[in-house]
């Protein structure tokens, strides 16, 4: 599984405060801890009000790049901001995100077309988030085709079928799994991705729902997830599921991660 570390996000209160007071040490530490567990991309999201976002995101990017070589996942609801910070990023990473909404694709696709950048594409449009798999698949297909017009191969796209909240939409997991399967059937080289927290919104003891979501989503073919790599139980679920799905020869990756103290009872270093 491709792991996108989610902790550098101003929407998390303690991080938002650290960004507001420009606490470089705090951010540096948060970058370092995630990289240590092992992540493929480091998500960077300012989560501030619109007028402060550009400056905050630039600041975060500079710190992250000075701390690690891990590619960044540039995260903003505003594609104009992504475009503005983009030249600052040294290593090709991941853009989070475009969708069928407004001008998002038209701003981002020309920017990354002759590069190795990858992009997360959400299956929503100006009508909102569709509830049915059929609509999600349709939007995904349109986004992949639109990217192809810019010579962006499906393998550079991460489709997020936007799982809804289980307490509100009771069949949302089934819809999500169907979407992942069908999108990959239509475009075998495309990647699929999801965040983990939407599913358990409004439920008690959310971590158990999130963990089981990860397992079911991976079994449906999901390739990547935006997670908190410091959640040891979640990391354990990830390694166990990969082994169960025949993606870990003789379970050596599982064993190695355990030896490295990435999950299981906390060992003194």
């Amino acid at each position: 599984m491709i792991v996108i570390g989610e902790k550098i996000n101003g929407a998390i209160p303690s991080v938002g405060e650290a960004i507001a007071r420009r606490d470089e040490e705090f951010i540096r530490n948060l970058v370092g801890r995630q990289v240590e567990v092992g992540i493929d991309y480091l998500d960077v999201c300012a989560g501030t009000s619109a007028d402060k976002e550009l400056e905050a995101l630039n600041w975060l990017i500079d710190i992250a790049q000075s701390e690690t070589d891990t590619p960044l996942c540039i995260d903003s609801p505003n594609v104009r901001i992504i475009k503005d910070v983009w030249p600052r990023v040294k290593k090709c990473g991941l853009i989070n995100s475009v969708s069928g909404e407004g001008e998002k694709c038209e701003v981002i696709f020309p920017l990354i077309k002759d590069t190795e950048w990858k992009v997360i594409a959400l299956t929503c449009d100006s009508e909102g988030i569709p509830e049915t798999a059929k609509q999600k698949i349709k939007i995904a297909d349109e986004l992949i085709k639109k990217a192809a017009e810019y010579n962006i191969d499906a393998s550079r796209i991460f489709i997020d079928p936007l799982v809804l909240s289980l307490a509100a939409v009771n069949d949302c997991m089934l819809t999500f799994m169907e979407s992942v399967r069908e999108i990959k059937k239509l475009h075998p080289t495309v990647n699929t991705v999801s965040g983990l927290s939407n599913i358990s919104y409004g439920m008690p003891y959310r971590k158990i729902v999130n963990q089981n979501f990860l397992t079911l989503a991976l079994s449906a073919g999901m390739d990547a997830a935006i997670i908190d790599p410091e959640k040891r139980d979640l990391i354990a679920s990830m390694y166990a599921t990969e082994a169960l799905l025949h993606r870990d020869k003789h379970c050596c990756k599982y064993g190695k991660a355990f030896r490295q103290n990435k999950f299981g009872p906390v060992k003194e270093k």
């Binding site: 009000s49 619109a50 609801p77 505003n78 100006s126 909102g128 509100a168």
Partner: protein, 209 residues
């Protein structure tokens, strides 16, 4: 009929018992107003339980749906003056945001509480809200959002009412995760809440004032 039992059934989301009792009221042309009052009391218990952290979002949604079914069944029996009518309210998720679970919960509780809800959906532009308020003479506006950028849209919506010279004609209430006392002041709204029961109480006070 034991309306207390109906109240308890609603408060515990016992769909079978509640709808059986409601249907009995409908079939026997019983006291629909008393049944409605019992449902509303049951719903208030659900709101309290949610506030105390004993009920969860799913419980609120289920109770809201149950309440909707009950109201639909009882409606034909109610004479227009027996049901409390608190007037119209506009609800929507503001521009740039598409999260609507909270908005939908509030909608069902507002409807259960006697409001006629005009639901404009998600990602609604300020000018559409103002236009709807003007055309339908709506005095209470509920704005919802979860994203940080929703705050900017809430502010823009309040500004749009000012620009139309309608700010003093309407009450504006904000709801959703990022909303606080501070953001409410910053947006220039009249009130805020992240608790549906409290939100309804605030709007009720406005409607009756």
């Amino acid at each position: 009929m034991d309306f207390k039992k109906l109240k308890v059934a609603i408060s515990e989301m016992d769909e079978e018992v509640a709808m059986e009792m409601i249907n009995e009221v409908v079939e026997t042309k019983g006291d629909a107003a008393a049944a409605m009052a019992a449902c509303q009391e049951g719903m208030a218990i659900v709101g309290d339980m949610f506030e105390r952290g004993e009920y969860f979002v799913g419980d609120l949604i289920f109770a809201g749906e149950l309440m909707g079914d009950a109201m639909e069944a009882l409606h034909p029996l109610m004479s227009s003056d027996s049901a409390e009518n608190l007037g119209k309210i506009i609800l929507c998720t503001v521009a740039g945001d598409i999260h609507d679970i909270g908005k939908n919960i509030v909608k069902s509780i507002m409807a259960a509480g006697g409001f006629e809800v005009i639901d404009l959906g998600v990602d609604v532009a300020p000018e559409d809200i103002v236009k709807t308020a003007k055309e339908n003479v709506v005095k209470i506006i509920g704005l919802s959002g979860i994203l940080t950028l929703a705050i900017d849209s809430m502010k823009a919506t309040v500004e749009a009412f000012k620009a139309e010279g309608m700010r003093d004609d309407v009450h504006i209430i904000l709801g959703g995760n990022p909303v606080t006392d501070e953001t409410c002041k910053e947006c220039g709204a009249d009130a805020w809440s992240t608790n549906p029961q409290e939100g309804v109480a605030i709007c009720r006070d406005w409607a009756l004032s």
